[in-house]
């Protein structure tokens, strides 16, 4: 197996900082923005993005999580998944929700998150921020904010590790060949 590190902790820090500026630019501030992370690693990324927004704007940005374990389209094709937390910090109606995940791949996770979101409220708009976009979409879904575009082959694996949940920090491309 080969493993190649493509982002280190400083790269991740800069990517989140840049995405925060882009979110503010796109939405003319962050007043109506609610950040929701998709478990597992979308949650610490969402927390960091919200902290960066608060830091830039000087006002706190609400942050929560949205689990997709009950909305997957392949529940009957894979072993039971552990359920993650769903926490909505404030009513989502008339807000701009920024969904946060670590890796954007087929788009099925985001599809499930959009379904889950529809049961939680009706935000005015939903945007998607990902640390890594590795391509190979199977659904008509695209990100609004990307930390790094990472062209990959389908056989390769993209691994994100974050200090909040792992003992290391960075993004790796791994190949089993």
């Amino acid at each position: 197996m080969t493993s190649r590190r493509v982002l280190d902790d400083a790269d991740i820090r800069r990517a989140i900082r840049r995405i925060a500026h882009e979110v503010i630019e796109r939405n003319r501030g962050a007043d109506d923005v609610v950040i929701l992370g998709i478990p597992t690693r979308g949650v610490p990324l969402a927390t960091r993005l919200a902290a960066a927004l608060s830091d830039i704007e000087g006002t706190p940005t609400p942050v929560g999580s949205i689990d997709i374990g009950l909305h997957r389209d392949d529940l009957d094709r894979r072993p039971r998944v552990a359920l993650g937390p769903t926490y909505v910090p404030e009513p989502l109606d008339h807000k701009t929700v920024v969904l946060v995940d670590d890796v954007l791949y087929t788009g099925r996770t985001v599809r499930a998150a959009l379904d889950a979101l529809a049961d939680l409220g009706r935000p005015d708009r939903v945007q998607l921020a990902v640390l890594v976009d590795r391509g190979h979409r199977e659904l008509p879904i695209r990100p609004d904010f990307v930390g790094k575009n990472l062209p990959t082959a389908p056989g390769e694996r993209v691994t994100v590790r974050l200090r909040d949940v792992d003992d290391d920090e960075g993004v790796w491309i791994e190949d089993d060949r």
Binding site: D67, G69, L70, H71, L75, D76, R77, R78, P79, R80, V81, L83, P85, T86, D115, A116, A118, D119, L120, G121
Partner: protein, 304 residues
């Protein structure tokens, strides 16, 4: 996990996993749209050969909140009255396309037989005086939410232990979760053989009352002969009922549970039943979430 027949089968990690999932489902039930698509396209059959309102409705609510379809069987309106056997009945419903059966039957072991006959995942919804595992799960969930944990708590189960499937399921679940359980009943309402039950026994409620973190009151089951061993229901209240006077002697953070339906004035005085520390309605709400956790565990994956 293919079936849920009793709480003896559940180890600590299985119980913790179901309770964690149930907490997630409690959050789902509080959403503006309290429904998730997790079991879309699955069919849950509730086969209740004994009368039940709350348990059957609770299972059906749980199935529907997971987007499963439900088939409901009750004996009064069925071909059982034409003499159809249990085996033929459940195989017929299985052939209609049920993916899971919830079975309540007066005969001990009936749910296990239904699992053999149909090859389907089966949840025991109460068999005779044997087991009622989802009741134990919702009880454990209620205690965990009220007290933060079940571990290390002193739980007294009071009343008609001999005729109670709830008591048996609760004892094993609470003990596995690390509680100290005491059965409190007159000799005549205790099972003849308590070998293997992980609990203590007392015949004097007043002697242990002040030590308890949880008082679990069982219903006096007049339909199962539970009242006949007592001279009168008033006498039962005097010795084993939770009166206002006894309630006042409980620790301030002690909570009271009851599986319902309550006999007010028999095992619990009406004023106590209405106290905020009597968690009877929380138990009902938690029951839906606990049953969602069980249905999702049995049907929510490729290995199901």
């Amino acid at each position: 996990m293919r079936t849920l027949l009793g709480t003896e089968d559940l180890d600590r990690s299985a119980l913790d996993g179901l309770l964690d999932d149930a907490e997630t489902f409690l959050e789902v039930l509080e959403r503006p749209i309290p429904k998730v698509p997790a079991l879309r396209g699955r069919t849950v059959a509730t086969m209740f050969f004994e009368p039940s309102t709350r348990t059957r409705l609770s299972f059906e609510r749980a199935a529907k909140a997971l987007s499963a379809d439900t088939l409901s069987f009750s004996p009064g309106t069925s071909s059982l009255s034409k003499g159809e056997s249990l085996k033929d009945t459940v195989q017929t419903i299985a052939a209609m396309g049920a993916d899971l059966m919830v079975v309540r039957h007066r005969a001990v072991g009936a749910p296990a037989r239904v699992a053999e006959w149909t090859g389907l995942p089966v949840v025991n919804g109460g068999d005779g005086a044997h087991q009622h595992p989802t009741q134990a799960l919702l009880d454990a969930l209620t205690i965990r939410r009220a007290r933060g944990t079940v571990e290390g708590l002193r739980i007294g189960i009071v009343g008609d232990i001999a005729h109670s499937r709830v008591a048996r399921s609760d004892v094993f679940a609470f003990a596995t979760l690390g509680a100290e359980v005491t059965l409190i009943a007159p000799r005549t309402l205790l099972p003849v053989d308590l070998t293997g039950w992980p609990c203590d026994v007392s015949t004097d409620l007043d002697a242990v009352l002040g030590d308890l973190d949880v008082v679990y009151l069982l219903r006096v089951q007049t339909e199962r002969g539970g009242a006949s061993v007592f001279p009168s229901l008033r006498e039962y209240l005097r010795r084993f009922g939770l009166t206002r006077e006894r309630f006042a002697r409980l620790r301030p953070d002690t909570v009271v549970l009851h599986p319902g339906p309550m006999n007010r004035g028999v095992e619990i005085e009406a004023a106590v039943a209405d106290d905020p520390r009597a968690l009877v309605l929380d138990q009902v709400t938690n029951g839906v979430a606990a049953r969602m956790a069980v249905l999702f565990q049995l049907l929510g994956g490729a290995d199901a």
